[in-house]
């Protein structure tokens, strides 16, 4: 880790150095240009362990010969990272280049020297003062890949002379590959080792780590896709990872894993599948309209890019045209995805767009520092080996977020389902109890019907016949009155069974209706004052009969004993001791309480007892104005514990 941080800071230093160097080169005047012929030009930089020298020119011979050339050296600026075209023109066969750099020992600090070199294509041999000190290949036949790898070469102290020393680089490659001589530094071992470590991390070990992580994750994702084939995002994600791994392998490989030429071709062409699969993933993930068509079009484009390169470019190098076309596709896709994001603004989509944007920037950066293009040196290493992992990570993040969100939805759905089940269970319980209540009510109704039939066909019928007989035979009025009372008592019972839902007003009204002919015959006027009253839910048939009997008793007393001419009946809501209830008042203008016969005493006691049984109260008063006032108070609600009176 520590080394990596050091590497970072050194990278920044390097960028600054590179820019500086670029400016100097543009100005065309090397800072410490040594005298021509004796030593070569260089720029020096002071590190922690002393001065480091980087050569700005060298003497070249373009030849594939295996020994150090004796003559033909000509000076060129350094580095010369793209000599392929020139070398091929010069002569047939293998490509080769020799570069010679001389420096004065006094220009370089450090007790022990080292050489750092990078961007050499492809096989590299380094000589110090004529002695072969380094080779990056195992044998002449071994296919080394040297272009991206920085090499740190320790110079044996015995070889170092005071005064002028000489470094010679020899690069060689097969004709179908490329030739170049890269940058060369010489300086204290410690400083160059640190510089090398930094370069090596960003170019090789970082890239390797990133890509092995990528292929590992892709394999996992691919297995996940095998489990759930309809998740095409997973498929495209795995494909993205695989394709980028293939594309990036050459960045950190030391040797071609199989035939070098085939490996090179695969490396070039794999860029298109990598980009196309990445875009396919984005389309699959963001699901814009007509995404199948877009994916089809992308695959077709990828294929045509490959064909374009195969037939039109025919190059072993990176060409600007097909790369810019590829970039154009990516930018077009960015527009499509941005439009999709406008419709569905989620972080996942934004992350995807961001990842694609960064990848585009990476691609531009890398394109600019390709040897045969060389617009800039940039970061000093290619960013592309990190593009695959960057895209993959962003994609994985997006998928993960979507999955987590889906889990949330599932959780909420479960909660909602449980709530609904709870709801339905309660509703079922309610309807069940309602059904039971209805059954009970139906049973009560049928029992009522039976009672009524009994009264009609049995007692009622006989009583009516008996009354008719008594009237016809002009029997004793007492007999007739007794029969009439019996019948009216039956009527009271019938009324108490009526389904009036505890409506006291209607029950009382019906009693009035029944007694109206008697009152009329007795010449008693009736004042009827009823206010709307709340229903008494406890007033079932038995309780209703009690209430009706109390009122009937009161009215009968007036009819038979009071000698009254007027009765006032009032019915109104009335609270008693803060208990809501209703009050029924029957007042007459008759003889009054005091003169009542003893027979009514028992009647009054009965009325009081009935009222108490109902949870109410019956009062009797003799107003100063005369007559009697009976008032019955009944509560609106009654404790459930209180049994219904039978």
């Amino acid at each position: 880790m520590k080394r990596r941080f050091a590497g970072c800071s050194m990278t920044i230093e390097r960028i600054a150095g590179a820019i500086f160097c670029f400016l100097l080169a543009a100005a065309g005047m090397p800072a410490f240009a040594a005298e021509a012929g004796a030593t070569n030009g260089f720029v020096a930089r002071v590190s922690d362990h002393g001065r480091i020298v980087q050569f700005t020119d060298a003497d070249f011979v373009l030849s594939a010969q295996s020994d150090i050339p004796a003559r033909g050296w000509h000076r060129r600026t350094m580095p010369q990272i793209w000599l392929s075209d020139e070398a091929r023109r010069l002569r047939p066969g293998r490509l080769g280049a020799w570069a010679r750099m001389r420096f004065d020992r006094s220009d370089v600090d450090g007790d022990h020297l080292a050489i750092l070199t990078e961007n050499n294509r492809e096989k590299l041999t380094v000589y110090f003062n004529g002695v072969d000190v380094y080779r990056n290949y195992r044998s002449e036949a071994a296919p080394a890949i040297g272009w991206n790898r920085p090499y740190l070469i320790t110079v044996p102290d015995a070889l170092v002379k005071p005064g002028v020393n000489e470094i010679i680089l020899h690069t060689a490659s097969r004709r179908e590959f490329n030739l170049g001589v890269g940058s060369v530094w010489v300086g204290p071992r410690e400083s160059l080792a640190a510089l090398h470590a930094d370069r090596y991390f960003w170019r090789i070990s970082g890239a390797r780590g990133a890509n092995y992580a990528l292929i590992f994750l892709s394999a996992i994702i691919f297995v996940m896709w095998l489990w759930r084939r309809k998740e095409m995002e997973l498929f495209w994600l795995a494909m993205t990872g695989f394709a980028w791994f293939v594309r990036d392998y050459h960045f950190f490989a030391e040797e071609a894993p199989f035939d070098p030429w085939l490996f090179q071709q695969i490396t070039y062409y794999s860029l298109y599948p990598a980009i196309i699969t990445s875009l396919c993933f984005c389309v699959e993930f963001m699901k814009p309209r007509r995404r199948r068509r877009i994916i089809g079009a992308l695959l077709l484009l990828g294929l045509s890019l490959c064909l374009f390169r195969l037939f039109l470019v025919r190059s072993t190098a990176t060409d600007v045209l097909s790369n810019l076309m590829t970039l154009g596709i990516v930018v077009a896709m960015l527009v499509v995805l941005f439009a999709a994001w406008l419709r569905q603004r989620t972080i996942e989509h934004l992350v995807l767009i961001g990842a694609l944007g960064v990848s585009t920037a990476f691609a531009l950066h890398d394109l600019g520092r390709v040897p045969n293009i060389l617009w800039w040196d940039g970061l000093g290493f290619h960013a592309q080996p990190y593009t695959g992992l960057a895209l993959f990570t962003a994609f994985l993040f997006s998928i993960g977020r979507r999955i987590l969100r889906a889990l949330d939805v599932v959780e909420q759905t479960n909660v909602e389902l449980e709530r609904r089940v709870e709801h339905a269970t309660q509703a079922l319980a309610r309807s069940e109890s309602a059904r039971r209540r209805m059954e009970v009510e139906r049973a009560i109704d049928s029992e009522r019907e039976r009672l009524m039939r009994e009264m009609h066909d049995g007692i009622g019928s006989n009583l009516v016949t008996a009354l008719a007989v008594a009237r016809r035979r002009e029997q004793d009025p007492d007999t007739i009155a007794t029969l009439e009372r019996a019948i009216s008592d039956l009527k009271l019972t019938v009324d108490s069974l009526a389904p009036v839902d505890g409506d006291v007003v209607t029950l009382l009204a019906n009693l009035r209706h029944r007694m109206e002919p008697d009152l009329r015959r007795a010449g008693i006027a009736l004042d009827w004052h009823v206010e709307p009253c709340p229903p008494l839910e406890w007033l079932d048939a038995a309780n209703a009969l009690h209430m009706l009997r109390i009122i009937q008793e009161a009215l009968s007393n007036v009819l038979t004993h009071a000698g009254a001419t007027r009765i006032v009946i009032r019915l109104s809501p009335s609270a008693r001791e803060h208990v809501a209830g209703i009050s029924i008042e029957i007042a007459d203008d008759g003889k009054g309480f005091a003169s009542e016969e003893s027979g009514t005493g028992k009647g009054i006691a009965n009325m009081r007892a009935r009222a108490r049984a109902l949870g109410g109260e019956c009062r009797f008063a003799a107003p100063a104005a005369g007559g009697t006032r009976v008032s019955l108070w009944l509560p609106e609600h009654r404790d459930r514990e209180m049994p219904s009176v039978r």
Partner: protein, 213 residues
């Protein structure tokens, strides 16, 4: 002269009622029957203005005779003869086509007066029956025909009657004549009959549809 037919199985009641009507001067009994079979013939024969009919006949249901009489001659008034004027029996009779009721223990002069009243176009009603009709007819089904729906005046009449006001008290409150109150009640009875008939048709249709399946 009001022509009256009586269907009642109790000979004593029939005789009493007949005698009272005969003595009234403006009414006459034109036919009597004591069984469902005789009653059916009586209804077929027609020739009466008012039919007084008992529900519980020994060989059949009086409501059936009421239904026949009502469909045969819509101008005839039908009174059901009942022991207690309990809501179940009265409403059943009204659904069949009756327009009023007589109590078997009613004083005979009251009976004759009730017959005269119904001929004048008015029907009696008890508060309990008024309340039940209010509940049953008031929830105006939107699809209900005009002739099945209570008018505002009729609703008001039923509300007052269910709260115990007499016809003349209702008339005073609503500022109409007591006779109009009776007419309202008669119309209400007719609506109950129409609705119960359409409900029966509806139910029969439903049952038919279910049977078809």
């Amino acid at each position: 002269m009001i022509r009256i037919a009586i269907i009642e199985d109790d000979p004593l009641i029939q005789a009493e009622l007949g005698a009272a009507i005969g003595a009234s001067g403006d009414c006459a009994v034109v036919a009597t029957a004591a069984t469902h079979a005789d009653g059916a013939r009586l209804v077929e024969g027609g020739g009466f203005d008012v039919l007084v009919c008992d529900l519980g006949l020994p060989d059949g249901d009086g409501a059936d005779l009421i239904r026949r009489a009502a469909s045969r001659d819509p101008d005839a008034d039908i009174l059901v003869l009942t022991m207690f004027a309990d809501h179940a029996k009265v409403i059943e009779a009204i659904k069949a086509g009756a327009r009023g009721y007589l109590l078997k223990d009613q004083r005979l002069d009251d009976c004759v007066e009730a017959i005269r009243e119904i001929r004048r176009g008015g029907s009696p009603i008890s508060p309990i029956i008024a309340r039940i009709l209010l509940k049953r007819l008031q929830p105006a089904i939107s699809v209900a025909e005009e002739e099945e729906r209570l008018s505002e005046r009729e609703t008001e009449t039923l509300r007052l009657l269910s709260r115990g006001f007499t016809y003349s008290e209702c008339a005073g409150i609503m500022d109409i004549s007591p006779h109009t109150v009776g007419t309202h009640v008669k119309h209400i009875y007719r609506k109950l009959e129409v609705r119960s008939r359409s409900e029966a048709v509806y139910e029969a249709t439903l049952r038919g549809m279910l049977d078809d399946n």
